[in-house]
């Protein structure tokens, strides 16, 4: 099978990730609860994973790294933990439902949001668009770093600076960018949310929420942490405050190995490899009369290596099914991001998304092009 659905989850996982997960399953006890050697050894390994993630994202300390089950959970925790009744939020026009659905649910608390248009390739215009969306009740800007549909990359460093200039908080959803674009918490993000199983090559069921040092976020999940147990109140200390329940040790160990895989292969090289493939694909697709492209040739300053298109006369799901019958795995439809499709005028038809990873080869793209040219 040719796997080009890496924006959903990367496949295959590096061998080191598989080994780490298996080893963790064989040798672990509940960390941070007991005092015996196996429990302490497991806690030490999780601490080491925190260090790896903290170094990778420039977090202030290990405890600023919160392990979660997914980017969606991270975003829910951050958005719902920071907003109060009556607050206003600015989001981009490219958001995933992981941002939009929590905000929809918060409408019942009088929390409103405004979508700021994104202008691919024009960061000044995008930043201006966000500025105009801010009002006197705005508390927070939350936006994707890169669209999971169109690959359009937002100028998050500038948007974070804009937020802070207006006294607002800033959450970045890095689900599609972590592992292909360097991200540094020193740029001032209040909360960074990301998946562990996409560009970081960890297992599914892993995510990260990295918080700045001065975060005062409320919790949405409370429970046992192995600390301060006499009290019925959730502890204030990080990471315990946001990590109730037994952690996914095997997943966290796999995520640590995934991050190490990205670090050792260098983000810049992985990104350059994927961009080369996407530009090659783009150059071929734009010559095919039945293929409709929606974005310009991907430029690494303004995009991540994700490319979506439609084929004339075919529903996007139909096109994906034809590719599947030819052993090519892609994702079609709305990609859980109706906003992004609405912004591009594809809400009715969806699109076919191609997303490579470090293991994708040019032969894979050639096969895709061949099948598209023969079948559609």
């Amino acid at each position: 099978m040719i796997y080009l659905d890496n924006s959903a989850t990367t496949y295959p996982k590096p061998q080191s990730v598989l080994n780490s997960c298996a080893s963790a399953m064989r040798n672990s006890a509940n960390p941070g609860r007991s005092g015996h050697n196996m429990s302490l050894a497991t806690a030490e390994k999780i601490y080491s994973a925190r260090r790896t993630a903290a170094d990778f994202f420039g977090a202030e300390n290990e405890e600023n790294v919160i392990f979660t089950p997914s980017c969606t959970i991270s975003l829910n925790m951050a958005i719902k933990g920071l907003l109060k009744n009556g607050d206003h939020v600015v989001v981009s026009s490219m958001e995933h439902n992981a941002v939009m659905r929590p905000l929809e649910q918060l409408k019942s608390r009088g929390i409103s949001c405004t979508k700021a248009d994104v202008f691919a390739g024009d960061d000044d215009k995008t930043t201006d668009s966000f500025r105009h969306a801010i009002n006197s009740k705005t508390k927070l800007i939350v936006c994707t770093h890169a669209s999971n549909v169109w690959g359009v990359r937002l100028p998050i460093e500038r948007l974070c600076a804009l937020a802070h200039a207006y006294g607002l908080l800033f959450i970045v959803d890095a689900a599609q960018s972590a592992g292909v674009v360097p991200i540094d918490m020193h740029d001032g993000y209040d909360v960074l949310c990301t998946a562990g199983h996409k560009g970081l090559y960890g297992p599914m069921g892993t995510g990260l929420m990295i918080v700045s040092g001065n975060n005062t976020m409320q919790t949405i999940i409370e429970g046992g942490t192995g600390s301060n147990s006499y009290s019925s109140e959730q502890p204030d200390e990080l990471p315990d405050r946001f990590e109730s329940g037994t952690p996914n040790f095997s997943g966290i160990m796999g995520l640590k190995s995934g991050i190490e895989f990205v670090s050792s292969h260098k983000i810049e090289k992985i990104s350059a490899h994927e961009f080369k493939l996407m530009r090659y694909l783009y150059s071929r697709l734009e010559k095919m009369p039945k293929i409709k492209l929606y974005t310009p040739m991907p430029d690494d300053r303004y995009f991540v290596p994700v490319l979506s298109f439609n084929a004339e006369g075919y529903d996007s799901e139909e096109a994906a099914a034809i590719l599947n019958r030819n052993n090519i795995a892609v994702r079609a439809g709305l990609h859980c991001a109706p906003c992004a499709h609405e912004a591009m005028g594809t809400l009715d038809c969806g699109a076919v998304r191609i997303s490579p990873c470090a293991f994708t080869k040019q032969n894979d793209i050639d096969r895709l092009i061949y099948v598209l040219s023969k079948s559609l």
Partner: protein, 77 residues
Amino acid sequence: MGIPAIMVSSVTYALRGQKILRSFGIKSEIERTARRANEKSCSYSIVVAQDKADEAEQILTKHGIKIIGRTERLGEK
């Protein structure tokens, strides 16, 4: 007097504290805190040699590790 154990709030702080102390050449071990020492909490302690306890506490405090108190190594009483 037993071997001193510096109480911190969680295993993460205990591990960070141990790492910090190691960088200062102070050996330590981590263990659960005796209930008698901190009956209102479950926590971890960093066990250090008797002659290093004061220095260790100062270093930990300076590096942002919140110290709950001091007790003695488990099994010493």
